[in-house]
């Protein structure tokens, strides 16, 4: 009977390991995460507008109904990606997520400081392979490094009041993302 506390201690330690490993494995095991939800309705490397959330139906939980939302589900395997998004009158932001929904970069219209948000997305390897002179002439090009090959770019345009939702949607309709094959 003296062994019982030892067995309990062992169970607690093992339980802790089970807990930590399940938490760490969850992002890889999840089948209902944002990327999987969007994979069913959006093509790769193209901007798609999401329908406005309502009480019956929403693409994702906790979407802000004051925003028009468009998504570019990207895959950088074939080359880097060019994104351009005109800014709306009120507030526009672009957020970059990894395959596992980690927001690694976000920029808004004011930080971009222009009438359109324009940037290049590439993997660190593709960035390193860029010709040096191109890097210099492209000083005004914003280059973002994606930590993963696949991920999500989410464009959000605010409708300050419900009547301006059509304006926000029109602004997002001009957004583009397209794959740029590397020069041969």
């Amino acid at each position: 009977m003296i062994r019982l506390p030892l067995w309990i201690l062992g169970a607690l330690l093992l339980g802790g390991i089970v807990h930590l490993s399940t938490v760490l494995a969850m992002p890889e095991a999840a089948t209902q995460d944002a990327y999987s939800r969007l994979a069913r309705m959006s093509p790769v490397n193209a901007v798609v507008q999401l329908s406005a959330p309502n009480a019956q139906d929403a693409t994702m939980p906790f979407m802000d109904p004051a925003f028009a939302v468009a998504v570019c589900r990207y895959d950088l395997s074939a080359g880097s990606l060019k994104l351009s998004a005109p800014v709306s009158q009120a507030y526009t932001s672009v957020t970059f997520y990894t395959r596992n929904s980690v927001a690694y970069y976000a920029i808004n219209d004011r930080a971009a400081g222009r009438r359109a948000i324009e940037l290049d997305l590439m993997t660190p390897v593709q960035h390193a392979q860029m010709p040096e002179e191109e890097d210099v002439t492209a000083a005004d090009r914003l280059i973002i490094e994606s930590p993963t090959r696949r991920g999500l770019i989410v464009l959000r345009a605010l409708a300050p009041e419900p009547g301006l939702m059509a304006m926000a949607r029109r602004a997002l309709a001009g957004a583009q993302c397209r794959s740029e094959p590397p020069p041969q």
Binding site: R3, W7, I8, G10, A11, L12, L13, L14, G15, G16, I17, V18, H19, S21, T22, V23, L24, M26, P27, A29, A30, Q32, D33, A34, S36, A55, Q56, A58, M60, P61, F62, M63, D64, P65, A66, A90, Y91, S93, T95, F96, Y97, N100, S101, V102, A103, Y104, Y105, A106, I107, N108, R110, A111, L152, V154, R156, L158, A159, P160, E161, P162
Partner: protein, 192 residues
């Protein structure tokens, strides 16, 4: 024989503890680095690469996309200022000021993050459309029955969540202090 029963017992208890703890932390929303002002709690790191493993697991399970740190910050409230969980049958008064931000939105959700059905199709307010007092303060009535002024219908559901999102705000990962406030007060008035 004793060894067999001992190992079996240990493995069962370990599985129960481990999976139970995972389930609890992911459904209750345990995450580190929280910033609480009054009834409102935000996790600014959840919108950056410094997101902790619990928040990562939670968003993978629910399927939501957190607000990016360069975009804004989201404050969640499950309770009023008295600590009572929001009840859709009660009327709440949300009033005061918000931290500096270019725009904010207030949205009402059910516990699963769905919008709440109501007759006037209103799920929230933005800072641009709210009716304010002369000094810039505002009063929002959240409840099942129509009110004059800013009325956010709660549809009479049992439990709801309010999310306050500040866009283009200096509040974020760099400023994890409660001096950034004030966030609006949330006071329960009457229950039907």
């Amino acid at each position: 024989m004793r060894l067999f029963f001992g190992s079996f017992f240990t493995l069962m208890v370990a599985a129960a503890i481990g999976l139970g703890a995972t389930w609890l932390t992911l459904t209750r929303g345990v995450a580190f680095g929280s910033l609480t002002i009054g009834a409102w709690t935000a996790w600014p790191k959840s919108g950056s690469v410094d997101i902790d493993p619990y928040a990562r697991a939670t968003i993978a399970r629910t399927g939501e996309l957190p607000v990016g740190a360069g975009d804004g910050v989201a404050f969640y409230a499950h309770n009023d200022d008295g600590g009572n969980p929001f009840d859709g049958r009660c009327t709440y008064v949300v009033s005061g000021m918000t931290p500096a931000a270019r725009y904010w939105t207030l949205t009402l959700y059910d516990a699963q993050g769905r919008l709440v059905a109501n007759t006037i199709d209103r799920h929230g307010f933005t800072s641009a459309e709210i009716v304010r007092e002369a000094d810039g303060r505002f009063v929002i009535n959240v409840g099942p029955r129509a009110r004059p002024g800013n009325w956010l219908p709660s549809g009479g559901i049992e439990r709801f969540i309010m999310v306050w999102r500040l866009y283009d705000t200096p509040i974020g990962v760099a400023s994890l202090t409660t001096k950034e406030g004030p966030m609006p007060a949330v006071v329960r008035k009457s229950c039907s």
